[in-house]
């Protein structure tokens, strides 16, 4: 079935199987490989995107349910040479090891900072409880959130 949705400000369409997830459509049909496929059961957060502004696991949304809706992926944050402050903070704080979970974490962190500009450690850990990282032990990711929050706070609103 033909699905049309707005991804990162651009209307895109693809012919997908009705049981296809939004994650599969983003990666396999639209070539947006920043959103990672790991557990396919909502446990790991690697496939986190925004759907109409809500943070969701794209593996648990049917592509057909996203028809006509606004999707933002990790590719909307920044690109090489023009990193989003959250991405720059991950590099600076050493919050990336193997890197597989990183796009999902960056989306979840950016979502947190949209709602809370200066979160406490406790708030950060709860906000990131849906994202798994098997390398870092999380402390450097928490550090990166503080770096990003400070950096974004310096920019005049």
């Amino acid at each position: 079935m033909l699905i049309r949705l707005n991804v990162n400000g651009e209307w895109r369409e693809a012919d997908v199987w009705p049981g296809s997830s939004l994650l599969a459509m983003l990666r396999d049909d639209l070539g947006l490989w920043g959103t990672k496929n790991a557990c396919e059961q909502g446990e790991c957060g690697s496939c986190s995107v925004w759907l109409d502004g809500d943070l969701v696991c794209s593996c648990l949304v049917l592509a057909a349910q996203a028809e006509g809706r606004m999707v933002e992926t990790v590719e909307s944050l920044g690109r090489e040479g023009a990193l989003h402050p959250v991405q720059a903070a991950f590099l600076e704080a050493g919050a990336v090891q193997c890197g597989f979970c990183t796009p999902g974490f960056e989306v979840a962190v950016a979502d947190l900072l949209r709602h809370d500009a200066h979160p406490t450690d406790e708030t950060i850990r709860e906000a990131l409880s849906g994202n798994l990282c098997r390398c870092t032990g999380y402390q450097k990711i928490v550090d990166a959130v503080h770096v990003a929050a400070d950096r974004m706070g310096e920019v005049a609103p």
């Binding site: 009705p18 049981g19 059961q41 969701v56 696991c57 593996c59 648990l60 057909a64 979502d111 994202n131």
Partner: protein, 294 residues
């Protein structure tokens, strides 16, 4: 495989009657796991996530009516006075799951581990079902029939759940390996109702379906009565009565051994959670009374 995207409840119910093979899907947080792993291949999907009727929260007097398609994140924001329910909502999955998952989904899946379900039981909630030929309202215990078995007919949709807001504190607590992303090993919801002088306790994950603990409830109400705590929230309930309350709740459990925990551990967890939940509720009433007096 067909995909239906109705924009009103009426249209959805007509599709449901004509295409019972189409699986209703809202947030998809349970169903998509089965689909992604090929464990389930529905004959089609009926997307109920755009039905305005399912996304309403209404209050009329003491009655709260919660649309089956309201996600947990909205429950937390919009129903802060329903403390037990918002506590349960906060323990569901993770932020990503709470933006999508719904109480209607917990009901439809009918797992004894659904976090919202002990709360609905402690609220004495009703489940509103609709079909193209009419609606019916069932008490929660007539809807949840067994493990993943419900009274939903093939032509029906879960529209809402409703309950009378209780006059008193309530809570939800659960035991698991971490705070987030955990299927409860045991879950408990307790609700005090000062106007009715009742204690209501419900258990999840410790039986084939959600269980109430009627003997413990009667004992708890009696203990508060003897202590004079219904009329004077500052009155103390004796420690041995608190412990006995926990034992009676544990006796109401019907747990099994499984990968998440043993029956003995689950029973013990019920005892501890029940005693704590009653203590929290009594503390909350005491604090509210002292605040009102000052």
């Amino acid at each position: 495989m067909q995909f239906f995207r109705p924009s009103s409840l009426r249209e959805a119910l007509e599709i449901r009657a004509a295409h019972p093979e189409a699986m209703p899907i809202a947030g998809g947080t349970d169903l998509m796991v089965e689909v992604n792993f090929g464990r389930r291949r529905p004959g089609g999907f009926l997307d109920v996530s755009r039905l305005p009727e399912l996304r309403e929260i209404r209050r009329e007097g003491r009655t709260v009516r919660l649309g089956a398609g309201v996600p947990y994140a909205r429950i937390i924001r919009e129903l802060p006075g329903q403390v037990a329910l918002t506590q349960a909502a906060r323990t569901v999955g993770s932020p990503q799951i709470r933006t999508r998952g719904t109480v209607g989904g917990n009901l439809g899946t009918g797992s004894p581990a659904g976090d919202a379900l002990p709360v609905l039981a402690a609220y004495d909630a009703r489940v509103v079902l609709a079909s193209a030929t009419g609606t019916r309202t069932l008490p929660w215990h007539d809807f949840l029939l067994g493990p993943k078995r419900t009274a939903l007919a093939p032509d029906e949709l879960i529209v809402a759940t409703e309950w009378e807001a209780a006059d008193g504190p309530g809570s939800f607590s659960k035991v698991g390996t971490r705070n987030a992303m955990v299927i409860a090993i045991a879950g408990l919801s307790l609700q005090l109702d000062g106007a009715a002088r009742r204690v209501r306790v419900a258990l999840g994950s410790v039986g084939p379906t959600i269980l109430r603990a009627p003997e413990a409830e009667a004992f708890g109400a009696g203990v508060l009565d003897e202590a004079g705590a219904w009329s004077d929230p500052r009155a103390r309930v004796p420690e041995d009565a608190m412990a006995r309350f926990g034992e009676l709740v544990a006796e109401a459990a019907r747990p099994i051994d499984d990968v998440r925990g043993t029956a003995a551990y689950r029973r013990h967890a019920c005892r501890v959670l029940a005693r704590r939940a009653l203590a929290w509720a009594l503390d909350d009433r005491r604090a509210a009374a002292m605040e009102a007096a000052s």
